[in-house]
Structures are given as structure tokens and as C-alpha cells.
Symmetry: C2
Subunit: 347 residues, 2 copies
Amino acid sequence: MSDEVKRKQVKLRDVAEAAGVAVGTVSRVLNDNPTVNAEVRRKVQAAIDALGYELDIVAQSLRGGSTRMVACAIRDFDIPQFASYIKEAERIFRENGYTLLLSSTTNKPDVEVSLLRAFGRRRVDGIMMTVSDEAHKGVAQALEQAAAPVLLIDRDHVPALDRVMVDHYGGAKSALEYLLGLGHRRVGLLVGDTKAFPSRSRVQGFQDAHSSLSLTPDPGLVRMRVFDTEDAFRETMALMSLPEPPTALLVAAMDTLGGSLRALRALGQEVGRDVSLVAGSDSELAELYSPAVTAIRWDLSEMGRHAATMLLDRMRGQVPLAPRALKLPTTLIIRDSCRPPARKGLH
Amino acid sequence: MSDEVKRKQVKLRDVAEAAGVAVGTVSRVLNDNPTVNAEVRRKVQAAIDALGYELDIVAQSLRGGSTRMVACAIRDFDIPQFASYIKEAERIFRENGYTLLLSSTTNKPDVEVSLLRAFGRRRVDGIMMTVSDEAHKGVAQALEQAAAPVLLIDRDHVPALDRVMVDHYGGAKSALEYLLGLGHRRVGLLVGDTKAFPSRSRVQGFQDAHSSLSLTPDPGLVRMRVFDTEDAFRETMALMSLPEPPTALLVAAMDTLGGSLRALRALGQEVGRDVSLVAGSDSELAELYSPAVTAIRWDLSEMGRHAATMLLDRMRGQVPLAPRALKLPTTLIIRDSCRPPARKGLH
DNA sequence: CCGATTAGATGAACCGGTTCATAGGGGGCC
DNA sequence: GGCCCCCTATGAACCGGTTCATCTAATCGG
């Protein structure tokens, strides 16, 4: 406090000089190398403390190889689902000495490819990401040739990579079984892009639930490429304005429930009474809306935790051989937004 | 495609060798240094493309100084407000060639100090962050002595630093003026930690709105250290169970509206009719709840945009002298959750 | 008392770029 | 023809650590 603050960065050399030893010795002290005498260690430690030395991770990384950074790239991180996922993953990485590096893919394959290159240039130790189009050859190739281990988030198209997924198939199927069981025969489905695992699984679950009852869903009731609340608003309006509108909706696109609710409100359709509704992911909005909206739920923290742990294992080379795929279960939280459909012809 | 893929990283030296020039020349080509002949440039570029050379940013950073990384540390990034803010800031940084590095402070001063040290060790070019306790000497000192420019997010305690804030004072004051204007005289306030700018401002706005009408608020109606929905639930229960409960609530803690709504529901209190309610930050839940909840709103994207731009300016040394402080305005979005209080003694 | 062994410290090479002092070649000018 | 200058390329130092071959000194066995 009393003396002038040294402004220039203190380097390993300065510490070595102050302690009267070689730079290599200081480095060994820092790395807890056992081949250093206790007395010297004490002296070096004293010099480190006295000078307020801070290790330069950039320099360390250049020689050592590891940057202790993990990259994460997702479509959009103001989607609450992703935020909870990342929160938990970051916690685990931080506790293990890794720093998280965050980028948005903006849902464009060329951005995804260039991000992977950028991660390589930064020498990150691991990568967690989603991709917008699983059929895109360039992206798949970039993933397989990435300079660091890659863990796919809710994607399933590269068998060589570790991946953490959600059982969207089971979620959609059970939601549909519930609605069909209530007597609904025209159920609308809002999903994102079927080029990616979640929406593809949901459509499949939707289909299979119909098939197992020997029903064939009207293809016109499946609306794709719903990415935000505006899309959901528009598609809900379109669905409900059909000559023969659906009697129930599964709003399965990420974080788009609000758009559908606004549309139904604008049309004067009351949830539960006029149209049944299931949300494809749970939220406070679903829980506290009147009526409370039945929703498909899964554990986001657990997903983030597993993803981080799996990637850490892989980065440390602790994983023996085959890539691991984890699929988290979903639960249908039944609330008050679904009833049997009004009987045909009645009003 | 046809030939074997080279697995080892291609280095500058390899490119130089392939092009028959010196490494320095290749570096000059990469950095668009004008002192390089067009023909040589073409030849080098061809070698770069042929070998699939990728620059190593770690090595570049070691010599060059700049890592082109910006660190961001906030309390918790599954708070939707922060997510929107970061989304926009990340976009701008990415477009300017910077990578975002994300950490959670978990609201602990010692973590904040150690994060600042870690950012220094990583040689980040800039830092955006919040702190949990503005009175904490160690944190303030660490902020001022940080190795990179710091921009404070919604904090106002270090005059030497750039900062982007929200006018929580004005927001709380106008909300209170509205409620007091409706006739409410016992208004409950839920805020976070008054050690930090947002909650302190809100309490001040709450007080001043009372003072300007020569009213003195009951201190027992101000509940602090509300951080999550559980806290909000508990404190709302407590407030509404007072012998003389408030007739209106301002739930001003971040992202805690759901907790209060749950508590009111549990108590059988109907929003609007039994108790008036204002949310301290807007959300889909506030908008779509029944009744729709009056809320204080501000532009999160604009906040992120300004923060990123200001920090970029500072990092580039384009800012002349004094630190800049920006305070974003708030708007009170009046919906259906507030009515005049029921008259005393009536039921 | 001597050679072998070992604990512990050293100095230099190395990681992969950037940059700067220096040098070579060619053209213009007197 | 000689001098100067400009254009361009070179090679080495440098960034700040890590690591390894090497060296010194101390210990131990016989």
C-alpha cells in the first residue's frame, strides 16, 4: 500500500533473479515438480509473493499445448434452455480449471465451419456445439477433423463423436398419445428445422403415435422452421385459420410458446376450452399461464453436467474407445391445458 | 479428397519452405503488409491454400500482445436479462474479430477477484463484468488494477471505469408514483442486494416517490436479498402474512416474478383484485399472465450493443480521456395488474 | 579413499508466430 | 560511371513460459 505499485508485468525471469535461481527452477516450483529442494521452494515462493507474480497462460499454452479453454457454440443463447445448460457446464469447467469460450452459430452452416476453424486456431482443448443442418457435408467433415474433441449437443449425426441428447422422440410421442387418448384427431405440430435431430425426432414421435393407433396425421398440420416467437405466432394463426383447424397443438419448437399463446389470444381461442395445448419444453410461462400448460420437461442442469463431464473425460484421454451417446429422458407434466375436443358439429 | 489428409499442424515454416521464401515474408503476407511484391504474395497465398495452413492465435498473441478475447463475468447467465444482453454483445465482438470468454461470479467477491486475476493471466483485451458488493475494497482495487480495460455492467461505484447502467431509480420511482397515484399507501418492495447499484437505486426511487408525496414508507415492507424465485416466494408469503399486508407489490429483483405469482396463488390472492403488482423487469410471463402484469422495461439489446461498442473503443484506445457512463431509460408498461386498493374496513 | 549413485539445479532449445535492422538489386540523376 | 534511394526480402531476436540433457555436489558402499 505504502510503496509505489509496480506497473510492468512481473515475469518468470524477474522472480528467478529475485530468488537467485534459474528460470527453470521457478517453473518447476510453479508446477509442483518434486525435484526441487524444500528450502529453494520456500525462497522462490517468497519471491513470487513479494513480486506479485502472475503466470502468463498464453506463454504457457504455446509451449505446453493445452490452453485450458473449452469452446461452446449454440444457435442462440438467449434461449432459456441453452442458458441453463451452459450455466451448469460452465460451473463444472470452471471448477476444473477450464475457461468457457462462447459463440453463437446464428444457425448458419458456414458460420459453424468458420467457428470450428477459429476454435482450432485458438487451440481450445474441447468443443461443445450444435449444428443447424445435420446433412451438411462441410460441417460434418469439419466436425470430424476438428483439432479438439467435439461433443455434440442434442445432435446425433456423427457416430464418431460424443453426444448428449434429449429424448424428443419419446417426449413428442407421449404428448401425442395423451392428446390422441383424449380423443383429438387433428393435432397441430410446430417444430424447428427437421434438418436437425430434435425436430426430426419430434416429427417422428408425432407420426409414430398416430401410426400405433392406425391413424394418419394430416401433413398440413405439421409446421416446420419455427425458430422464434414471431414464427410461432404466424404459424399458429395459419393453423387455426384452416378450413378444418386442429383441436390441439403441440408447440415443440424451442422457447416459442409465447408466440402461440399470443396468436390464440388474438383469435379469441381459449386454451383448454377451444383448443388443447402442449408445450414442447417447460417454462415458468407454461407453469403459471392460465390455464397452466401441459409441457414436456427434461433436466437441463443434468444435461449440462453430463456434457461437461463427458467432454472433460475425453479431453483427458480417460475414455477408452468408443464415442458415448447419452439420451436424457423426458416427462410429460400434465396440467390444465388439454381437454377432450368439442364434439363435431356441436357448438 | 483423393490424397491422404495431413494430420500434423502446418506451421508458418512449412508454408515458407513450400513457397521458397522466409517465414517473415509469409507473416507479412498474412498481415497484409504492403512491403511485399504482388508475385511473391500470390505464390505464398497459393502455398497457404495448398497446405491448408491455419494461423496459431496462441503464438500470435504471445508476441503480438493482443489475444482478441473479451471476458464477461456476471452473476448467473440463466437470468434472461443477462442472456439477451450477452447475446447482442457477443454478436458485436464476433463481428469485430473478438471471442467472448464467459464466467459466472456466483455472486461472491472472492470469486470476482480471482476471475479478474485469471483474465489477466489469459491476457484478455477487455473485461465486462458486474460485482456483487460495490463496497468491497478488494474487488474495487482489483477492478482498477486490472490488466485490461474494464466496463461495468449495471454498476456505478468505480468512477475511473466505463459503465453501462439502467435507470432503475427512475423505473422504481415511476412505478411507485403510479401505485401511489392509484391510492396505494402500503406497497411492498422486493429487491436483491442493496450493496449493488440496481437494488440500491430501486430502494432510493421507492423512497423518493413516497417523499415527494410527503409519505413515509413502512421499512418492514422492503425486502432485500431476493435473488431467485424461491426467495421471492418466501418473501412474498411473509409480506402478505403481515398483520397489515401491502396492497401492492413491486417485484423488482431480477427474474423473480414467478416466485411472487406462485406465492399469491398459494395464498388465494388474485392479482389486480386483491393485490396490485408491478414487475421490476419485463418478460413473456409478465405479458401473458392473467391479468397481464404491469412491468418496468428497458432495452437489453441496446445495452449489450452499447457496452460492446464502448469497450471496443476503449480497447482500441480510441477514447480520448474520461470514462463514460451510460444510463439507459426505462418505461413503465402499464397492463392490467394494478387497481386502486380496496377501501379500508370493507370486504 | 575412490567410484557409483542420486538429489537437485542449470542453461538452452523450443513452442509458432511478429518485427526490425540489414542487405541486395534496380532505377534515376548528375 | 558513381551515388543515392527505394523497393523488397532476409534472418535473427523476441514474446514468456516448459522441459530435458547436462552438470555439480553430496551421499553411500566397499
